[in-house]
Symmetry: C2
Subunit: 253 residues, 2 copies
């Protein structure tokens, strides 16, 4: 039986990175795409709780069905699995995102929200991101690496609840040095909003900010990407800080 | 100098749980509230990236300023710190949420999105949730526990990047057995959407689902809550599964 691969992203159903990913992996199985109608960058793990979701069929051909949905990337994964896949997908892919989801970006990312949701629901899942925000970014160097990772995960699976966050430096193929499996760099975004005044004299605030990373570890995704490597972070959905359970226990029980 | 406490939530600025939390902690410091204009349950760690934010002043009296914002709970924390707090808050609180944020709910929760965002930005932060979804839920049993936790965290702080996810069973005060510091239960939501047909004959899908928890550990938040305890989970914002870095390294490097 051919593999069934569910693909989503957060840059919308019309994004170039999504099309590149679909083309790269069609040889590995039947594809169902459920993506967002609109850009959903920064939607994180958000769910649509208080309004109905609608689904539009975009394309239907042998081995490829494409749908667009008015919800978030997490909604896309849940809804596609529930109603648009004939069985549980063998693999869920998200991306290729236009822009980095390394380090703390993973927590804000709709691309990775979808991946983590798939892993919570017992599916193998991988998110791909290229460090280039342009709408017409050149994804060609990504393709051999995407194929290698997808074929490996289809063959061997992933441990329970573990998904992969793959970030790819914006370099030509022959400048990419290889792959590093890493931890997330500790970082944050500073100076986060600009205050402006609208034509009616009223204030508004617009998200901006600078990425601040003081984590110099050579075992991190930022180090790998800065040094010409693709970073893979094994990602899990549990926020518990096990290392602090005992300390906090002493204070509160 | 009096402490400065920033308070937010995801049930909106008019929610009863927010009012209860403000009243419970006013004695500990000056309060700035920045909450969402509308219900933002399920907004997770979402950010507003592609539209401007507006802020409305709701109330301004000695020791208490209340604002409402058209963004997400994460936006509320970032924007309040940037423009509406005279200095970095000593403590960020979120809640009291109408409904559980235990176990996997933490990843979908706007209440906890705000808390984790505060911790990423170097602030001590605590989220409170009561296991009762009613708009007029009785929060009275929560108040002594909220006061105790808030005064402890104001006095002693929290470890870097660690926040607290506090869930309170829906019981009268004298039935609450105490506090347990726990890990998140492993769980997921199954059967996640209902398909319906609108009056025009078109399909729509609405979020629903059943909470499935097969994790029977007595060190979990679900065990604590099921057995009459308040659960506190020390929470951190890093998704890396350190335990799998070596295994994945063998496969991909």
């Amino acid at each position: 039986m051919r593999s069934l691969i569910l693909i989503t992203n957060d840059d919308s159903v019309s994004a170039k990175g999504l099309q590149v990913l679909v083309d790269a992996v069609r040889e590995y199985g039947d594809i169902v795409v459920m993506s967002t109608e609109l850009n959903a960058s920064g939607k994180s793990h958000a769910l649509t709780t208080n309004q109905p979701l609608r689904v539009r069929k975009v394309r239907d051909e042998k081995g490829l069905e494409v749908y667009a949905c008015n919800g978030t990337p997490v909604d896309c994964v849940k809804l596609a699995e529930a109603f648009f896949c004939e069985r549980k997908p063998d693999l869920v892919l998200s991306g290729i995102n236009h822009g980095s989801n390394a380090s703390i970006n993973v927590i804000y990312s709709g691309t990775m929200g979808a991946v983590v949701e798939a892993s919570i629901n017992g599916m193998s899942a991988v998110g791909f991101s290229l460090l280039n925000h342009d709408a017409d970014a050149d994804f060609s160097a990504c393709i051999p690496f995407v194929k290698r990772i997808v074929s490996d995960v289809l063959e061997k699976g992933l441990p329970e609840n573990i998904s992969l966050n793959v970030n790819i430096p914006n370099l030509p193929y022959n400048k990419i040095k290889g792959v590093r499996v890493c931890r997330e760099s500790k970082a944050y975004w500073a100076d986060s909003y600009e205050k402006r005044t609208d034509p009616n004299g009223k204030d508004y605030y617009w998200l901006t900010g600078n990425f601040v990373c003081n984590d110099k570890g050579e075992d991190t995704d930022i180090w790998a990407l800065d040094n010409g490597y693709i970073s893979i972070v094994p990602t899990q959905p549990d926020f518990t800080s096990l290392g602090y359970v005992a300390t906090i226990k002493e204070r509160f029980e």
